[in-house]
């Protein structure tokens, strides 16, 4: 089956969807490549990235199309005609065959691209513009197109001349809506790939920039402008994106998130510098960037407060700024604060949460109070996964071991306290989990361990034949 073909093949009379054997019969020296739909999708999404330079509202129209909502953007490029010319020429230069059109509705524009590239239809002229096109240009699907042709409706004008109720009755409501949209009556909304950011500033360069200093300078200037425009509305940025448009069409986007809204351009500047410094694959300018865009995709209203009166609040601000900087460099998930959880299972008693988002909550969390004048009952270091130990024997079946081997070293038990029995949460667990008996243990050297026996003796652990088996022992933590 032919998936796609070039102009030369089209001239020979081959068409998309034709069986390959037929095509070979028509043209024996046909050069064939396997279709790679994944790569196609990637290419179209790369092109969509590139198209971001014209408007933030770019939507995919699979398999080969893109919608650009250029409402209010055209004048930046010298009008609609100039924009269309720039876009087509730039894509042409990169070796893509483009067919583009501008119209009041997305469906109409798509219909136009299937027939004549480069058309611009003014508002209200849609019906007139597509009147003479064959019905296949609507892209309504094989069945409907054939049906229309059989009914003698060859061009879109023919179809439009019938009443809407007739069309709906014969071809369904969806087709009649499509037709209405194509004729400029109402419009289907496009679904942009990315939500439009709240604030955008950008800078274009006639001469592409490539040096780090120029990039840094551009970013800090853009940050100034962005923050100034946000300040007017009392907003601060929680999420910032810098997009670097390379001359050869590659677009690299770098995102920085912050824990609290940023209102100073110096902070934005510094966050991006940290982020750019720490990139695993550094920003590759290639032949240079011809445009840099900075956008705030998540913003919050900032309450202006007088900070210097309360030193504590000031400290927290500085801590949050430090956390933002570290997170920008090594990743937000790597900076954590801890929240207590209402459970007695040791490994899930504490939740590590991103410090950027949960700092305030963590500062106010209520931790269970310790019992005064008791030694620590929970270890200072807890293994994520309890480590199995070898216990030769225990004199009392339910009792603690007298010695054990952990990490190939033998530890003689000198002091024991326990057991502290922790039963698993049967109302939460999905598999059967065993009751644990925990012991605090000190060995001859003074090392203190928290070990447990997994399962009640002769009660929960059975071997293959259903006979009681000896439960396993584990080290779960180390006391200071």
């Amino acid at each position: 089956m032919i998936h796609a073909l070039d102009e030369a093949a089209e001239r020979l009379g081959l068409y998309i969807g034709q069986p390959l054997a037929n095509a070979r019969a028509m043209c024996p020296d046909l050069r064939v490549f396997d279709a790679d739909t994944v790569a196609d999708t990637k290419t179209i999404s790369d092109i969509a990235d590139w198209c971001d330079r014209f408007t933030p509202l770019v939507a995919l129209d699979p398999p080969h199309g893109l919608f650009l909502d250029i409402t209010g953007c055209a004048h930046l490029f010298g009008g609609e005609a100039a924009l269309l010319r720039t876009l087509v020429r730039a894509l042409d230069r990169q070796g893509f065959a483009v067919s583009a059109a501008i119209a009041g509705t997305s469906v109409c524009a798509r219909t136009l691209t299937r027939q004549v590239s480069g058309t611009i239809v003014a508002d209200g002229g849609e019906a007139e513009a597509i009147r003479s096109f064959p019905v296949s240009a609507l892209g309504a699907g094989e069945a409907i197109t054939t049906g229309l042709r059989r009914a003698g409706l060859k061009s879109i004008g023919d179809v439009a001349s019938r009443s809407a109720s007739e069309i709906t009755a014969r071809f369904g409501a969806r087709f009649s809506t499509l037709l209405a949209h194509a004729l400029g009556q109402g419009d289907a909304p496009i679904s942009p790939r990315k939500p439009p950011p709240d604030y955008i500033v950008e800078k274009r360069f006639a001469e592409p920039i490539a040096t780090d200093t120029m990039i840094a300078m551009t970013l800090s200037r853009l940050a100034d402008t962005l923050i100034a425009s946000m300040e007017k509305q009392g907003k601060g940025a929680r999420r910032l994106e810098a997009a670097f448009f390379r001359t050869d069409g590659v677009v690299r986007t770098i995102t920085v998130e912050t824990g609290r809204p940023v209102t100073r351009s110096a902070v934005v500047d510094r966050l991006f510098r940290e982020r750019l410094d720490a990139l695993a694959d550094p920003l590759d300018p290639g032949f240079g960037f011809d445009m840099v865009r900075l956008s705030a995709s998540r913003t919050e209203i900032v309450v202006q407060e007088q900070r210097d009166l309360d030193a504590h609040v000031h400290d927290n601000d500085e801590l949050a700024a430090l956390i933002d900087r570290i997170a920008a460099r090594i990743g937000g998930r790597r900076v954590v604060v801890h929240l207590p959880q209402d459970t007695h299972i040791p490994e899930s008693a504490v939740l590590a949460a991103s410090a950027q988002h949960h700092l305030a909550a963590a500062m106010q969390a209520e931790w269970p109070a310790r019992v005064a004048s008791e030694p620590p009952l929970r270890p200072l270091r807890l293994f994520d996964k309890p480590e199995p130990i070898k216990v030769p024997f225990a004199t009392v079946p339910d009792g603690p071991p007298h010695q054990f081997t952990w990490r190939r070293a033998l530890h003689a038990v000198v002091r024991v306290e326990g057991p502290e029995r922790i039963a698993m949460e049967w109302w939460r667990q999905d598999g059967k989990q065993l009751t644990r008996d925990y012991f605090r243990i000190e060995d001859a050297e003074g090392l203190r361990f928290w070990i447990f026996r997994d399962g009640l003796y002769e009660g929960e652990v059975f071997d293959g034949d259903g006979k009681p088996a000896s439960p396993g022992w584990y080290v779960h933590g180390l006391f200071a």
Binding site: A278, H314, D315, N316, D317, E318, L319, A321, L322, I323, R325, I326, R329, I330, R334, V335, V336, V337, H338, P340, P346, A349, V350, A352, A355, L359, A362, Q364, A365, W367, P368, A369, R370, S373, E374, P375, P376, R378, P379, L380, R381, L382, F383, D384, R407, A409, V414, R415, E417, R440, E442, A444, E445, G446, L447, R448, G477, L478, F479, A480
Partner: protein
Amino acid sequence: MSGARMSALAILRGQIERIETAEVVHPRDRIVLGHGAADAALKGGLARAAIHEVFCEGRQGAAATGFVMGLAGRVSARRPLLWVRQDFSELETGALSMSGLSELGLDPRCVVMVRAADVESALRTSADALACDALGAVVLELWGETRQFDLVASRKLTLAAQGSGVTGLLLRMAAQPLPSTAETRWMLRAAPSPPGSVWSAWGAPVFDAELLRNRHGPCGRWIMEWNCDECQFSEPSTYPQPVAAAPAHRQDPAVLQQRRAG
């Protein structure tokens, strides 16, 4: 060599000497640890705005963590604590447990943990953090010998700490001490709980702490106990309170219930 050049050299030498001795810490910038002999050797306590190193063998990691946590608790005094650790040390000695921390009498709310993937990013993060004066202390936990932590890196940390007044604590597990610009250097081992009857409440953190290097005083080796209630170090209590006395201050809930019902 001409006389002018000699005198220039002398001036330079004098300047260097002054720079080196400028680090003498003011007495009020020292934090009393609570252990008499150790405080005396440290001239009144642990210096703030400096770097302190704590070394230990691999299997003594938890004891050294307890000691560092104790120092951090003393120094930071309810201000936020940034704990930077390498991913690998969590596999070796386990993760720092916040429940265990609050059992030591310290506040888990103040701890911000940074999980650095490698030594470089850990070092860079701690140098950054040390420059931020909103923090009480910065702990850098590294496992094993590292090439990256050399004299230059150590100097960077010290300068950052001096600039901001934040104390830096280095927890070096399974590593050998190397020359550095640290104010003090400790070698930590766990010490057995003090002798007592089987029923005595044992298990308070007891450390065998050896002060290997002290820039402004003598070295020494002491047994130090962390007192979880008072949040300070102390001489180990040789004969602790027997547990049999416990019911006096802890009423049995069943009895209480009965009394109310009756």
